[in-house]
Protein backbone atom coordinates (compact mmCIF):
# COMPACT_ATOMS: atom_id res chain seq x y z
CA UNK A 1 0.00 0.00 0.00
CA UNK A 2 2.71 2.47 0.98
CA UNK A 3 4.60 1.35 -2.09
CA UNK A 4 1.56 2.12 -4.20
CA UNK A 5 1.28 5.59 -2.72
CA UNK A 6 4.94 6.17 -3.40
CA UNK A 7 4.50 5.13 -7.02
CA UNK A 8 1.48 7.41 -7.30
CA UNK A 9 3.33 10.46 -5.99
CA UNK A 10 6.42 9.87 -8.16
CA UNK A 11 4.19 9.13 -11.13
CA UNK A 12 2.21 12.30 -10.61
CA UNK A 13 5.29 14.47 -10.31
CA UNK A 14 7.01 12.93 -13.34
CA UNK A 15 3.71 13.20 -15.18
CA UNK A 16 3.38 16.87 -14.31
CA UNK A 17 6.82 17.50 -15.76
CA UNK A 18 5.81 15.62 -18.91
CA UNK A 19 2.69 17.75 -19.03
CA UNK A 20 4.81 20.88 -18.75
CA UNK A 21 7.09 19.80 -21.60
CA UNK A 22 4.06 18.75 -23.61
CA UNK A 23 2.59 22.18 -23.02
CA UNK A 24 5.66 23.60 -24.71
CA UNK A 25 4.80 21.48 -27.71
CA UNK A 26 1.12 22.39 -27.74
CA UNK A 27 1.93 26.11 -27.53
CA UNK A 28 3.88 25.99 -30.78
CA UNK A 29 1.55 23.58 -32.51
CA UNK A 30 -1.50 25.67 -31.76
CA UNK A 31 -0.11 28.98 -32.88
CA UNK A 32 1.93 27.94 -35.91
CA UNK A 33 1.14 24.26 -36.71
CA UNK A 34 4.81 23.37 -36.38
CA UNK A 35 5.61 20.06 -34.73
CA UNK A 36 8.62 20.68 -32.56
CA UNK A 37 10.57 17.44 -32.40
CA UNK A 38 13.62 19.17 -30.93
CA UNK A 39 11.85 19.42 -27.59
CA UNK A 40 13.96 16.76 -25.90
CA UNK A 41 17.17 18.46 -26.92
CA UNK A 42 15.88 21.83 -25.74
CA UNK A 43 15.07 20.25 -22.37
CA UNK A 44 18.56 18.75 -22.17
CA UNK A 45 20.28 21.95 -23.27
CA UNK A 46 18.52 24.07 -20.69
CA UNK A 47 19.31 21.54 -17.96
CA UNK A 48 22.99 21.69 -18.86
CA UNK A 49 22.85 25.46 -18.98
CA UNK A 50 21.36 25.46 -15.50
CA UNK A 51 24.19 23.19 -14.42
CA UNK A 52 26.71 25.64 -15.84
CA UNK A 53 25.14 28.54 -14.03
CA UNK A 54 24.73 26.76 -10.70
CA UNK A 55 27.90 24.67 -10.56
CA UNK A 56 30.44 25.96 -13.02
CA UNK A 57 29.71 29.65 -12.52
CA UNK A 58 28.71 28.96 -8.90
CA UNK A 59 25.83 31.44 -8.86
CA UNK A 60 23.14 31.23 -6.19
CA UNK A 61 19.85 29.77 -7.51
CA UNK A 62 18.07 33.09 -7.12
CA UNK A 63 20.40 34.62 -9.72
CA UNK A 64 20.95 31.53 -11.83
CA UNK A 65 17.35 30.55 -12.47
CA UNK A 66 16.30 33.91 -13.98
CA UNK A 67 19.36 33.69 -16.23
CA UNK A 68 18.16 30.25 -17.34
CA UNK A 69 14.74 31.69 -18.15
CA UNK A 70 16.33 34.48 -20.18
CA UNK A 71 18.51 31.93 -21.93
CA UNK A 72 15.45 29.87 -22.83
CA UNK A 73 13.70 32.97 -24.16
CA UNK A 74 16.69 33.77 -26.36
CA UNK A 75 16.92 30.15 -27.52
CA UNK A 76 13.28 30.15 -28.56
CA UNK A 77 13.64 33.44 -30.37
CA UNK A 78 16.75 32.36 -32.24
CA UNK A 79 15.24 29.05 -33.35
CA UNK A 80 12.06 30.70 -34.58
CA UNK A 81 13.74 33.64 -36.25
CA UNK A 82 16.50 31.82 -38.10
CA UNK A 83 15.14 28.33 -38.76
CA UNK A 84 11.35 28.45 -38.76
CA UNK A 85 10.59 31.92 -40.12
CA UNK A 86 12.09 31.19 -43.57
CA UNK A 87 9.96 28.03 -43.75
CA UNK A 88 6.54 29.56 -43.15
CA UNK A 89 3.92 27.86 -45.36
CA UNK A 90 6.22 24.99 -46.33
CA UNK A 91 4.90 21.41 -46.33
CA UNK A 92 4.68 19.68 -42.98
CA UNK A 93 7.53 17.35 -43.87
CA UNK A 94 9.96 20.26 -44.10
CA UNK A 95 8.71 21.69 -40.82
CA UNK A 96 9.18 18.38 -39.02
CA UNK A 97 12.55 17.78 -40.64
CA UNK A 98 13.83 21.23 -39.74
CA UNK A 99 13.08 20.69 -36.07
CA UNK A 100 14.84 17.34 -36.29
CA UNK A 101 17.84 19.14 -37.78
CA UNK A 102 17.76 21.70 -34.99
CA UNK A 103 17.60 18.91 -32.44
CA UNK A 104 20.59 17.21 -34.01
CA UNK A 105 22.50 20.49 -34.00
CA UNK A 106 21.69 21.14 -30.35
CA UNK A 107 22.81 17.62 -29.48
CA UNK A 108 26.15 18.35 -31.10
CA UNK A 109 26.47 21.59 -29.18
CA UNK A 110 25.75 19.74 -25.94
CA UNK A 111 28.44 17.11 -26.58
CA UNK A 112 30.73 19.93 -27.59
CA UNK A 113 30.44 21.87 -24.35
CA UNK A 114 29.51 19.24 -21.77
CA UNK A 115 31.16 16.05 -23.03
CA UNK A 116 30.93 14.09 -19.77
CA UNK A 117 27.21 13.58 -20.40
CA UNK A 118 26.09 12.67 -16.87
CA UNK A 119 25.99 14.94 -13.87
CA UNK A 120 23.80 15.91 -10.95
CA UNK A 121 22.24 19.30 -10.44
CA UNK A 122 22.73 20.72 -6.96
CA UNK A 123 19.61 20.23 -4.89
CA UNK A 124 17.12 23.02 -5.35
CA UNK A 125 14.52 21.77 -2.91
CA UNK A 126 14.72 20.84 0.77
CA UNK A 127 15.64 17.23 1.27
CA UNK A 128 13.63 16.21 4.35
CA UNK A 129 11.23 13.37 3.71
CA UNK A 130 7.52 13.79 4.26
CA UNK A 131 5.25 11.17 5.73
CA UNK A 132 1.90 10.87 4.01
CA UNK A 133 0.02 8.13 5.78
CA UNK A 134 2.25 5.07 5.68
CA UNK A 135 4.39 6.24 2.77
CA UNK A 136 7.67 8.09 3.04
CA UNK A 137 8.06 10.52 0.22
CA UNK A 138 10.93 12.71 -0.76
CA UNK A 139 9.83 16.31 -0.51
CA UNK A 140 11.13 17.30 -3.94
CA UNK A 141 8.36 15.39 -5.68
CA UNK A 142 5.77 17.55 -3.95
CA UNK A 143 7.69 20.69 -4.87
CA UNK A 144 7.76 19.61 -8.50
CA UNK A 145 4.02 19.04 -8.54
CA UNK A 146 3.47 22.43 -6.89
CA UNK A 147 5.71 24.33 -9.29
CA UNK A 148 4.13 22.66 -12.32
CA UNK A 149 0.67 23.61 -11.12
CA UNK A 150 1.85 27.17 -10.52
CA UNK A 151 3.23 27.39 -14.07
CA UNK A 152 -0.06 26.08 -15.43
CA UNK A 153 -2.01 28.69 -13.50
CA UNK A 154 0.32 31.45 -14.68
CA UNK A 155 0.02 30.34 -18.30
CA UNK A 156 -3.75 30.10 -18.08
CA UNK A 157 -3.90 33.62 -16.68
CA UNK A 158 -1.55 34.81 -19.41
CA UNK A 159 -3.76 33.35 -22.12
CA UNK A 160 -6.89 34.66 -20.49
CA UNK A 161 -5.89 38.24 -19.76
CA UNK A 162 -2.67 39.32 -21.43
CA UNK A 163 -2.89 40.99 -24.85
CA UNK A 164 -0.29 38.64 -26.31
CA UNK A 165 -2.03 35.63 -24.83
CA UNK A 166 -5.30 36.64 -26.46
CA UNK A 167 -3.46 37.25 -29.74
CA UNK A 168 -1.95 33.79 -29.52
CA UNK A 169 -5.30 32.17 -28.97
CA UNK A 170 -6.69 34.13 -31.88
CA UNK A 171 -3.81 33.04 -34.13
CA UNK A 172 -4.45 29.46 -33.20
CA UNK A 173 -8.04 29.93 -34.23
CA UNK A 174 -7.64 31.63 -37.59
CA UNK A 175 -4.34 32.93 -38.90
CA UNK A 176 -5.78 34.84 -41.85
CA UNK A 177 -8.35 36.67 -39.79
CA UNK A 178 -5.73 37.58 -37.22
CA UNK A 179 -3.45 38.97 -39.87
CA UNK A 180 -6.32 41.00 -41.28
CA UNK A 181 -6.92 42.47 -37.83
CA UNK A 182 -3.38 43.80 -37.79
CA UNK A 183 -1.95 41.43 -35.22
CA UNK A 184 1.70 40.72 -36.07
CA UNK A 185 1.53 36.98 -36.68
CA UNK A 186 5.29 36.57 -36.89
CA UNK A 187 5.65 38.12 -33.46
CA UNK A 188 3.05 35.70 -32.15
CA UNK A 189 5.09 32.84 -33.59
CA UNK A 190 8.28 34.09 -31.93
CA UNK A 191 6.45 34.59 -28.69
CA UNK A 192 5.05 31.07 -28.74
CA UNK A 193 8.50 29.61 -29.37
CA UNK A 194 9.99 31.68 -26.57
CA UNK A 195 7.26 30.66 -24.14
CA UNK A 196 7.53 27.03 -25.22
CA UNK A 197 11.27 27.02 -24.60
CA UNK A 198 10.80 28.56 -21.17
CA UNK A 199 8.20 25.96 -20.25
CA UNK A 200 10.41 23.16 -21.54
CA UNK A 201 13.38 24.62 -19.64
CA UNK A 202 11.41 24.70 -16.40
CA UNK A 203 10.40 21.10 -17.00
CA UNK A 204 14.02 20.18 -17.67
CA UNK A 205 15.32 21.86 -14.53
CA UNK A 206 12.67 20.21 -12.39
CA UNK A 207 13.22 16.71 -13.74
CA UNK A 208 17.00 16.96 -13.69
CA UNK A 209 17.00 18.30 -10.14
CA UNK A 210 15.48 14.95 -9.16
CA UNK A 211 17.11 12.49 -11.52
CA UNK A 212 20.29 14.28 -12.53
CA UNK A 213 21.24 15.32 -16.03
CA UNK A 214 21.68 12.45 -18.43
CA UNK A 215 21.31 11.97 -22.13
CA UNK A 216 18.04 10.24 -21.27
CA UNK A 217 16.44 13.68 -20.98
CA UNK A 218 16.18 13.71 -24.77
CA UNK A 219 14.00 10.64 -24.43
CA UNK A 220 12.05 12.42 -21.73
CA UNK A 221 11.26 15.06 -24.30
CA UNK A 222 10.19 12.34 -26.72
CA UNK A 223 8.07 10.69 -24.05
CA UNK A 224 6.30 13.99 -23.61
CA UNK A 225 4.93 13.37 -27.10
CA UNK A 226 2.90 10.49 -25.73
CA UNK A 227 1.26 13.08 -23.47
CA UNK A 228 0.60 15.28 -26.46
CA UNK A 229 -0.86 12.39 -28.43
CA UNK A 230 -3.01 11.09 -25.59
CA UNK A 231 -4.27 14.52 -24.63
CA UNK A 232 -4.80 15.77 -28.13
CA UNK A 233 -2.38 17.89 -30.11
CA UNK A 234 -4.13 21.19 -29.69
CA UNK A 235 -5.41 21.00 -26.16
CA UNK A 236 -3.90 22.56 -23.04
CA UNK A 237 -6.38 20.70 -20.84
CA UNK A 238 -5.45 17.52 -22.66
CA UNK A 239 -1.78 17.96 -21.78
CA UNK A 240 -2.67 18.68 -18.17
CA UNK A 241 -4.84 15.57 -17.89
CA UNK A 242 -2.73 13.22 -19.98
CA UNK A 243 0.58 14.15 -18.31
CA UNK A 244 -0.26 12.63 -14.93
CA UNK A 245 -1.94 9.65 -16.63
CA UNK A 246 1.24 8.86 -18.57
CA UNK A 247 3.39 9.48 -15.49
CA UNK A 248 1.22 7.16 -13.39
CA UNK A 249 1.12 4.43 -16.02
CA UNK A 250 4.87 4.70 -16.39
CA UNK A 251 5.74 4.38 -12.71
CA UNK A 252 2.98 1.87 -11.89
CA UNK A 253 3.81 -0.22 -14.96
CA UNK A 254 7.49 0.06 -14.20
CA UNK A 255 6.85 -0.91 -10.59
CA UNK A 256 4.50 -3.83 -11.05
CA UNK A 257 5.23 -5.13 -14.56
CA UNK A 258 9.02 -5.35 -14.38
CA UNK A 259 9.02 -8.73 -12.59
CA UNK A 260 6.93 -10.24 -15.38
CA UNK A 261 8.53 -8.46 -18.32
CA UNK A 262 11.98 -7.65 -19.61
CA UNK A 263 13.79 -4.94 -17.70
CA UNK A 264 13.44 -1.31 -18.69
CA UNK A 265 9.77 -1.73 -19.54
CA UNK A 266 9.16 1.58 -17.79
CA UNK A 267 10.95 3.48 -20.52
CA UNK A 268 8.91 2.08 -23.40
CA UNK A 269 5.47 2.31 -21.80
CA UNK A 270 4.90 5.86 -23.16
CA UNK A 271 5.85 4.69 -26.64
CA UNK A 272 3.53 1.68 -26.44
CA UNK A 273 0.78 4.06 -25.34
CA UNK A 274 1.48 6.18 -28.43
CA UNK A 275 0.92 3.19 -30.70
CA UNK A 276 -2.25 2.15 -28.87
CA UNK A 277 -3.72 5.65 -28.93
CA UNK A 278 -2.84 5.99 -32.61
CA UNK A 279 -4.78 2.87 -33.50
CA UNK A 280 -7.78 3.51 -31.26
CA UNK A 281 -8.26 7.25 -30.96
CA UNK A 282 -5.71 9.15 -33.04
CA UNK A 283 -6.89 12.60 -32.10
CA UNK A 284 -6.55 12.00 -28.39
CA UNK A 285 -8.84 12.61 -25.49
CA UNK A 286 -9.39 16.30 -25.99
CA UNK A 287 -8.03 16.92 -29.46
CA UNK A 288 -10.08 18.54 -32.13
CA UNK A 289 -11.20 16.04 -34.73
CA UNK A 290 -10.24 17.35 -38.09
CA UNK A 291 -12.50 16.77 -41.02
CA UNK A 292 -10.77 17.06 -44.34
CA UNK A 293 -12.33 18.70 -47.30
CA UNK A 294 -11.14 18.45 -50.84
Amino acid sequence: MDQLLQYVITGLSVGMVYALIALGFVLIWKSSSVANLALGQIVLLSSWFTYSMLVQANLPPIVALPIVIIFALCLGWVIERFALRPLIAQPILSLIAVTLGIGYFIEGVITFIWPWSVDALPTLFPQEVVHIGPAVISQEYLWVIGICLAVFVLLTLFFRFHRMGVAMRATADDQMAVQACGIPVTRVFSMSWMLACVVAAIGGVLISSIGGITHGLVNTGLKAFSVVILGGLDSFVGALVAGPIIGLLETLGGGYLTPYMWGGVRDVIPFIIIIIVMVIKPFGLFGEKRIERI
Partner: protein, 352 residues
Protein backbone atom coordinates in the same frame (compact mmCIF):
# COMPACT_ATOMS: atom_id res chain seq x y z
CA UNK B 1 14.86 20.36 -69.96
CA UNK B 2 14.22 16.65 -69.72
CA UNK B 3 15.21 15.86 -73.29
CA UNK B 4 18.59 16.30 -74.89
CA UNK B 5 18.58 18.66 -77.85
CA UNK B 6 17.39 17.26 -81.19
CA UNK B 7 15.89 14.05 -79.86
CA UNK B 8 12.40 13.06 -80.91
CA UNK B 9 10.31 10.17 -79.69
CA UNK B 10 8.45 8.16 -82.28
CA UNK B 11 6.74 5.62 -80.04
CA UNK B 12 5.72 5.09 -76.44
CA UNK B 13 8.65 2.87 -75.54
CA UNK B 14 11.07 5.57 -76.65
CA UNK B 15 9.18 8.16 -74.68
CA UNK B 16 9.31 6.11 -71.50
CA UNK B 17 12.91 5.03 -71.79
CA UNK B 18 15.24 6.10 -68.99
CA UNK B 19 18.26 5.92 -71.28
CA UNK B 20 17.26 7.57 -74.52
CA UNK B 21 20.37 8.02 -76.60
CA UNK B 22 23.49 6.10 -77.44
CA UNK B 23 25.44 8.65 -75.43
CA UNK B 24 23.31 7.82 -72.39
CA UNK B 25 24.01 4.14 -72.79
CA UNK B 26 27.67 4.82 -73.35
CA UNK B 27 27.91 6.93 -70.23
CA UNK B 28 26.07 4.28 -68.22
CA UNK B 29 28.43 1.54 -69.36
CA UNK B 30 31.51 3.67 -68.74
CA UNK B 31 30.18 4.53 -65.29
CA UNK B 32 29.51 0.90 -64.43
CA UNK B 33 32.90 -0.22 -65.67
CA UNK B 34 34.60 2.51 -63.67
CA UNK B 35 32.46 1.69 -60.62
CA UNK B 36 33.45 -1.96 -60.68
CA UNK B 37 37.14 -1.45 -61.40
CA UNK B 38 38.39 1.79 -59.89
CA UNK B 39 37.41 1.52 -56.20
CA UNK B 40 38.51 -2.09 -55.59
CA UNK B 41 41.78 -1.63 -57.47
CA UNK B 42 42.88 1.82 -56.35
CA UNK B 43 41.12 2.76 -53.12
CA UNK B 44 42.78 2.18 -49.77
CA UNK B 45 41.04 0.46 -46.86
CA UNK B 46 39.44 3.63 -45.53
CA UNK B 47 37.93 4.74 -48.80
CA UNK B 48 36.80 1.27 -49.81
CA UNK B 49 35.13 0.90 -46.45
CA UNK B 50 33.44 4.25 -46.99
CA UNK B 51 32.22 3.20 -50.42
CA UNK B 52 30.78 0.01 -48.94
CA UNK B 53 29.00 2.03 -46.28
CA UNK B 54 27.67 4.38 -48.93
CA UNK B 55 26.30 1.40 -50.83
CA UNK B 56 24.59 -0.13 -47.82
CA UNK B 57 23.18 3.19 -46.66
CA UNK B 58 21.99 3.88 -50.17
CA UNK B 59 19.85 0.75 -50.18
CA UNK B 60 18.22 1.80 -46.92
CA UNK B 61 17.77 5.34 -48.12
CA UNK B 62 16.17 4.25 -51.38
CA UNK B 63 13.58 2.48 -49.26
CA UNK B 64 13.05 5.54 -47.09
CA UNK B 65 12.76 7.63 -50.22
CA UNK B 66 9.99 5.40 -51.54
CA UNK B 67 8.19 5.73 -48.24
CA UNK B 68 8.74 9.44 -47.58
CA UNK B 69 9.63 10.93 -50.92
CA UNK B 70 7.16 9.10 -53.13
CA UNK B 71 4.36 7.99 -50.85
CA UNK B 72 4.58 10.91 -48.42
CA UNK B 73 4.45 8.75 -45.28
CA UNK B 74 6.93 10.30 -42.88
CA UNK B 75 9.01 7.72 -41.05
CA UNK B 76 11.55 8.73 -38.42
CA UNK B 77 12.23 5.21 -37.25
CA UNK B 78 14.18 3.92 -40.19
CA UNK B 79 17.20 2.89 -38.12
CA UNK B 80 14.83 0.68 -36.14
CA UNK B 81 13.67 -1.13 -39.26
CA UNK B 82 17.25 -1.53 -40.43
CA UNK B 83 17.99 -3.05 -37.02
CA UNK B 84 15.15 -5.54 -37.53
CA UNK B 85 16.70 -6.66 -40.80
CA UNK B 86 20.21 -6.81 -39.39
CA UNK B 87 19.16 -8.89 -36.40
CA UNK B 88 16.94 -11.19 -38.43
CA UNK B 89 19.82 -12.09 -40.67
CA UNK B 90 22.25 -12.28 -37.76
CA UNK B 91 20.00 -14.61 -35.78
CA UNK B 92 19.26 -16.85 -38.76
CA UNK B 93 22.89 -17.23 -39.77
CA UNK B 94 24.43 -17.30 -36.30
CA UNK B 95 21.90 -19.22 -34.21
CA UNK B 96 20.28 -21.42 -36.85
CA UNK B 97 23.16 -21.80 -39.31
CA UNK B 98 21.10 -20.72 -42.29
CA UNK B 99 22.88 -19.68 -45.50
CA UNK B 100 23.48 -15.99 -46.10
CA UNK B 101 21.01 -15.63 -48.96
CA UNK B 102 18.16 -17.00 -46.86
CA UNK B 103 19.10 -14.55 -44.11
CA UNK B 104 19.19 -11.70 -46.61
CA UNK B 105 15.74 -12.36 -48.04
CA UNK B 106 14.27 -13.15 -44.63
CA UNK B 107 15.72 -9.90 -43.29
CA UNK B 108 13.89 -7.93 -45.95
CA UNK B 109 10.60 -9.76 -45.44
CA UNK B 110 10.66 -9.60 -41.63
CA UNK B 111 11.60 -5.91 -41.66
CA UNK B 112 8.84 -5.29 -44.17
CA UNK B 113 6.27 -7.05 -41.98
CA UNK B 114 7.40 -5.12 -38.90
CA UNK B 115 7.10 -2.00 -41.04
CA UNK B 116 3.51 -2.92 -41.89
CA UNK B 117 2.69 -3.41 -38.20
CA UNK B 118 4.03 0.01 -37.26
CA UNK B 119 2.60 1.48 -40.44
CA UNK B 120 -0.92 0.43 -39.52
CA UNK B 121 -1.69 3.78 -37.87
CA UNK B 122 -0.97 5.39 -41.26
CA UNK B 123 -4.38 4.12 -42.30
CA UNK B 124 -5.94 6.62 -39.94
CA UNK B 125 -3.37 9.37 -39.40
CA UNK B 126 -0.68 11.18 -41.30
CA UNK B 127 1.94 13.88 -41.04
CA UNK B 128 3.09 14.55 -37.53
CA UNK B 129 1.08 11.71 -35.98
CA UNK B 130 2.79 9.22 -38.22
CA UNK B 131 6.19 10.71 -37.42
CA UNK B 132 5.54 10.16 -33.73
CA UNK B 133 4.35 6.60 -34.34
CA UNK B 134 7.53 5.73 -36.17
CA UNK B 135 9.63 7.31 -33.41
CA UNK B 136 7.76 5.08 -30.99
CA UNK B 137 8.48 2.13 -33.29
CA UNK B 138 12.19 2.92 -33.17
CA UNK B 139 12.27 2.88 -29.37
CA UNK B 140 10.13 -0.23 -29.02
CA UNK B 141 12.25 -2.14 -31.54
CA UNK B 142 15.49 -1.18 -29.83
CA UNK B 143 14.03 -2.11 -26.45
CA UNK B 144 13.02 -5.55 -27.72
CA UNK B 145 16.46 -6.08 -29.24
CA UNK B 146 18.16 -5.09 -26.00
CA UNK B 147 16.15 -7.48 -23.88
CA UNK B 148 15.28 -10.49 -25.99
CA UNK B 149 17.53 -13.48 -25.34
CA UNK B 150 17.73 -14.46 -28.99
CA UNK B 151 19.32 -11.15 -30.02
CA UNK B 152 22.12 -11.29 -27.49
CA UNK B 153 20.78 -8.29 -25.58
CA UNK B 154 23.17 -5.55 -24.61
CA UNK B 155 26.19 -7.75 -25.32
CA UNK B 156 25.33 -7.91 -28.98
CA UNK B 157 25.66 -10.78 -31.40
CA UNK B 158 28.48 -11.81 -33.68
CA UNK B 159 27.67 -12.40 -37.32
CA UNK B 160 29.50 -14.73 -39.72
CA UNK B 161 30.85 -13.45 -43.04
CA UNK B 162 28.46 -13.42 -45.93
CA UNK B 163 28.93 -16.43 -48.17
CA UNK B 164 27.26 -17.68 -51.32
CA UNK B 165 28.06 -21.28 -52.20
CA UNK B 166 31.75 -21.66 -51.44
CA UNK B 167 32.53 -17.98 -51.89
CA UNK B 168 33.13 -16.22 -48.59
CA UNK B 169 33.01 -12.42 -48.62
CA UNK B 170 35.75 -11.85 -46.09
CA UNK B 171 37.64 -8.85 -47.45
CA UNK B 172 36.77 -5.28 -48.31
CA UNK B 173 37.08 -5.92 -52.03
CA UNK B 174 34.82 -8.96 -52.04
CA UNK B 175 32.28 -7.15 -49.91
CA UNK B 176 32.47 -4.24 -52.29
CA UNK B 177 31.32 -6.44 -55.16
CA UNK B 178 28.57 -8.01 -53.07
CA UNK B 179 27.26 -4.64 -51.90
CA UNK B 180 27.48 -2.99 -55.31
CA UNK B 181 25.61 -5.79 -57.10
CA UNK B 182 22.79 -5.52 -54.58
CA UNK B 183 22.89 -1.71 -54.81
CA UNK B 184 22.49 -1.93 -58.58
CA UNK B 185 19.53 -4.28 -58.23
CA UNK B 186 18.01 -1.97 -55.60
CA UNK B 187 18.46 1.14 -57.73
CA UNK B 188 17.00 -0.65 -60.74
CA UNK B 189 13.98 -1.86 -58.74
CA UNK B 190 13.44 1.49 -57.02
CA UNK B 191 13.69 3.47 -60.23
CA UNK B 192 11.37 1.20 -62.18
CA UNK B 193 8.88 0.62 -59.40
CA UNK B 194 8.09 4.31 -59.49
CA UNK B 195 7.25 4.10 -63.18
CA UNK B 196 4.63 1.40 -62.67
CA UNK B 197 1.03 1.51 -61.47
CA UNK B 198 2.25 1.12 -57.89
CA UNK B 199 4.60 4.08 -58.12
CA UNK B 200 1.99 6.31 -59.67
CA UNK B 201 -0.43 5.33 -56.91
CA UNK B 202 2.21 6.28 -54.32
CA UNK B 203 2.71 9.67 -55.91
CA UNK B 204 -1.04 10.27 -56.08
CA UNK B 205 -1.33 9.44 -52.38
CA UNK B 206 1.53 11.78 -51.53
CA UNK B 207 0.06 14.67 -53.48
CA UNK B 208 -3.46 14.31 -52.15
CA UNK B 209 -4.63 11.13 -50.52
CA UNK B 210 -8.30 12.07 -50.54
CA UNK B 211 -8.24 12.80 -54.23
CA UNK B 212 -6.38 9.54 -54.80
CA UNK B 213 -9.04 7.64 -52.90
CA UNK B 214 -11.81 9.30 -54.88
CA UNK B 215 -10.04 8.25 -58.07
CA UNK B 216 -10.28 4.62 -57.04
CA UNK B 217 -6.85 3.99 -55.56
CA UNK B 218 -6.98 1.70 -52.57
CA UNK B 219 -5.20 4.15 -50.27
CA UNK B 220 -4.83 1.86 -47.27
CA UNK B 221 -3.41 -0.97 -49.33
CA UNK B 222 -0.88 1.25 -51.05
CA UNK B 223 0.17 3.01 -47.85
CA UNK B 224 0.89 -0.32 -46.21
CA UNK B 225 2.58 -1.52 -49.39
CA UNK B 226 4.82 1.55 -49.25
CA UNK B 227 5.69 0.68 -45.68
CA UNK B 228 6.44 -2.89 -46.70
CA UNK B 229 8.65 -1.90 -49.64
CA UNK B 230 10.45 0.86 -47.74
CA UNK B 231 11.17 -1.41 -44.81
CA UNK B 232 12.07 -4.31 -47.11
CA UNK B 233 14.88 -2.19 -48.49
CA UNK B 234 15.83 -1.26 -44.93
CA UNK B 235 15.94 -4.92 -43.99
CA UNK B 236 18.19 -5.80 -46.91
CA UNK B 237 20.50 -2.95 -45.97
CA UNK B 238 20.47 -4.12 -42.37
CA UNK B 239 21.43 -7.65 -43.36
CA UNK B 240 24.33 -6.36 -45.47
CA UNK B 241 25.41 -4.11 -42.60
CA UNK B 242 25.35 -7.09 -40.25
CA UNK B 243 27.45 -9.24 -42.55
CA UNK B 244 30.03 -6.56 -43.19
CA UNK B 245 30.51 -5.45 -39.58
CA UNK B 246 30.60 -8.98 -38.07
CA UNK B 247 29.22 -7.74 -34.77
CA UNK B 248 25.87 -6.20 -33.96
CA UNK B 249 24.79 -4.10 -31.06
CA UNK B 250 21.65 -2.00 -30.67
CA UNK B 251 23.87 1.07 -30.27
CA UNK B 252 24.46 0.98 -34.02
CA UNK B 253 20.82 1.81 -34.71
CA UNK B 254 20.17 4.91 -32.65
CA UNK B 255 17.46 7.51 -33.01
CA UNK B 256 20.02 10.03 -34.26
CA UNK B 257 20.77 7.66 -37.14
CA UNK B 258 17.10 7.75 -38.03
CA UNK B 259 17.29 11.53 -38.13
CA UNK B 260 20.35 11.33 -40.32
CA UNK B 261 18.55 9.05 -42.79
CA UNK B 262 15.80 11.63 -43.13
CA UNK B 263 18.52 14.27 -43.46
CA UNK B 264 20.19 12.33 -46.28
CA UNK B 265 17.08 12.15 -48.44
CA UNK B 266 16.33 15.80 -47.80
CA UNK B 267 19.85 16.83 -48.75
CA UNK B 268 19.64 14.65 -51.84
CA UNK B 269 16.14 15.63 -52.86
CA UNK B 270 12.87 13.92 -52.01
CA UNK B 271 11.07 11.87 -54.59
CA UNK B 272 13.95 11.38 -57.00
CA UNK B 273 16.23 8.40 -57.53
CA UNK B 274 19.38 10.40 -58.04
CA UNK B 275 18.67 12.31 -54.81
CA UNK B 276 19.41 9.56 -52.31
CA UNK B 277 22.60 8.70 -54.19
CA UNK B 278 23.91 12.25 -54.00
CA UNK B 279 22.72 12.77 -50.44
CA UNK B 280 24.15 9.53 -49.10
CA UNK B 281 27.46 10.04 -50.87
CA UNK B 282 27.83 13.58 -49.55
CA UNK B 283 26.83 12.76 -45.97
CA UNK B 284 28.82 9.55 -45.68
CA UNK B 285 31.97 11.08 -47.15
CA UNK B 286 31.70 13.95 -44.69
CA UNK B 287 30.93 11.59 -41.83
CA UNK B 288 33.48 8.88 -42.53
CA UNK B 289 36.37 10.69 -44.15
CA UNK B 290 36.21 14.45 -44.15
CA UNK B 291 35.41 15.01 -40.48
CA UNK B 292 37.44 12.34 -38.67
CA UNK B 293 40.45 12.19 -41.01
CA UNK B 294 40.87 15.75 -42.19
CA UNK B 295 38.78 18.28 -40.27
CA UNK B 296 39.34 17.17 -36.69
CA UNK B 297 43.16 16.93 -36.78
CA UNK B 298 43.35 20.17 -38.76
CA UNK B 299 41.17 22.03 -36.27
CA UNK B 300 43.02 20.50 -33.35
CA UNK B 301 46.31 21.70 -34.76
CA UNK B 302 45.14 25.19 -35.63
CA UNK B 303 43.05 25.92 -32.54
CA UNK B 304 44.78 24.97 -29.33
CA UNK B 305 42.20 25.06 -26.55
CA UNK B 306 39.34 22.99 -27.89
CA UNK B 307 36.81 21.48 -25.49
CA UNK B 308 37.05 17.74 -24.95
CA UNK B 309 33.77 16.88 -26.64
CA UNK B 310 34.84 18.60 -29.80
CA UNK B 311 35.54 15.51 -31.89
CA UNK B 312 32.24 13.76 -31.14
CA UNK B 313 30.18 16.94 -31.11
CA UNK B 314 31.35 18.16 -34.48
CA UNK B 315 29.42 15.67 -36.62
CA UNK B 316 25.94 16.37 -35.17
CA UNK B 317 26.61 20.11 -35.38
CA UNK B 318 27.66 19.88 -39.01
CA UNK B 319 24.80 17.60 -40.06
CA UNK B 320 22.20 19.54 -38.09
CA UNK B 321 23.35 22.70 -39.83
CA UNK B 322 23.40 21.04 -43.24
CA UNK B 323 19.85 19.73 -42.84
CA UNK B 324 18.50 23.09 -41.68
CA UNK B 325 20.36 25.04 -44.37
CA UNK B 326 19.23 22.69 -47.14
CA UNK B 327 15.62 22.97 -46.04
CA UNK B 328 15.82 26.74 -46.04
CA UNK B 329 18.01 27.38 -49.06
CA UNK B 330 17.43 24.40 -51.38
CA UNK B 331 14.41 22.37 -50.30
CA UNK B 332 14.50 20.38 -53.54
CA UNK B 333 17.94 19.11 -52.66
CA UNK B 334 21.02 18.25 -54.65
CA UNK B 335 18.88 16.42 -57.24
CA UNK B 336 17.45 19.76 -58.35
CA UNK B 337 20.92 21.25 -58.69
CA UNK B 338 21.92 18.19 -60.70
CA UNK B 339 18.99 18.71 -63.08
CA UNK B 340 19.89 22.38 -63.47
CA UNK B 341 23.45 21.35 -64.25
CA UNK B 342 22.28 18.78 -66.80
CA UNK B 343 20.06 21.32 -68.53
CA UNK B 344 22.85 23.87 -68.66
CA UNK B 345 25.33 21.32 -69.97
CA UNK B 346 23.00 20.13 -72.72
CA UNK B 347 22.43 23.64 -74.00
CA UNK B 348 26.03 24.72 -73.65
CA UNK B 349 27.38 27.02 -75.04
CA UNK B 350 24.00 28.71 -75.45
CA UNK B 351 22.22 29.93 -72.36
CA UNK B 352 18.74 28.78 -73.50
Amino acid sequence: MSLPCGIRNYNYAQDMAIFRTKTHWGMLIVFLVLLFTVPPLTFNHLWLNTVNTIGITLIATLGLNILVGYCGQLSIGHAGFIAVGAYTSAILTNRFDMPFLVGLIAAGIVAGCVGIIFGLPSVRVKGFYLAITTIAAQFIIIWVINHWGLTGGFEGISVPYASIGGLVFDSDVKQFYLVMVIVLIAVFVAKNLMRTKVGRAFIAIRDNDLAAEVMGINVNYYKLLAFFIGCFFAGIAGALLAHTTYYLNAEQFSFTDSILYIGMIIIGGLGTTIGPMLGVTLVKIIQKVLLPIYMVPWLENSITSLPAGFATGLAPIVFGLIIVLFLILEPRGLAHRWNLFKAAYRLWPFSY
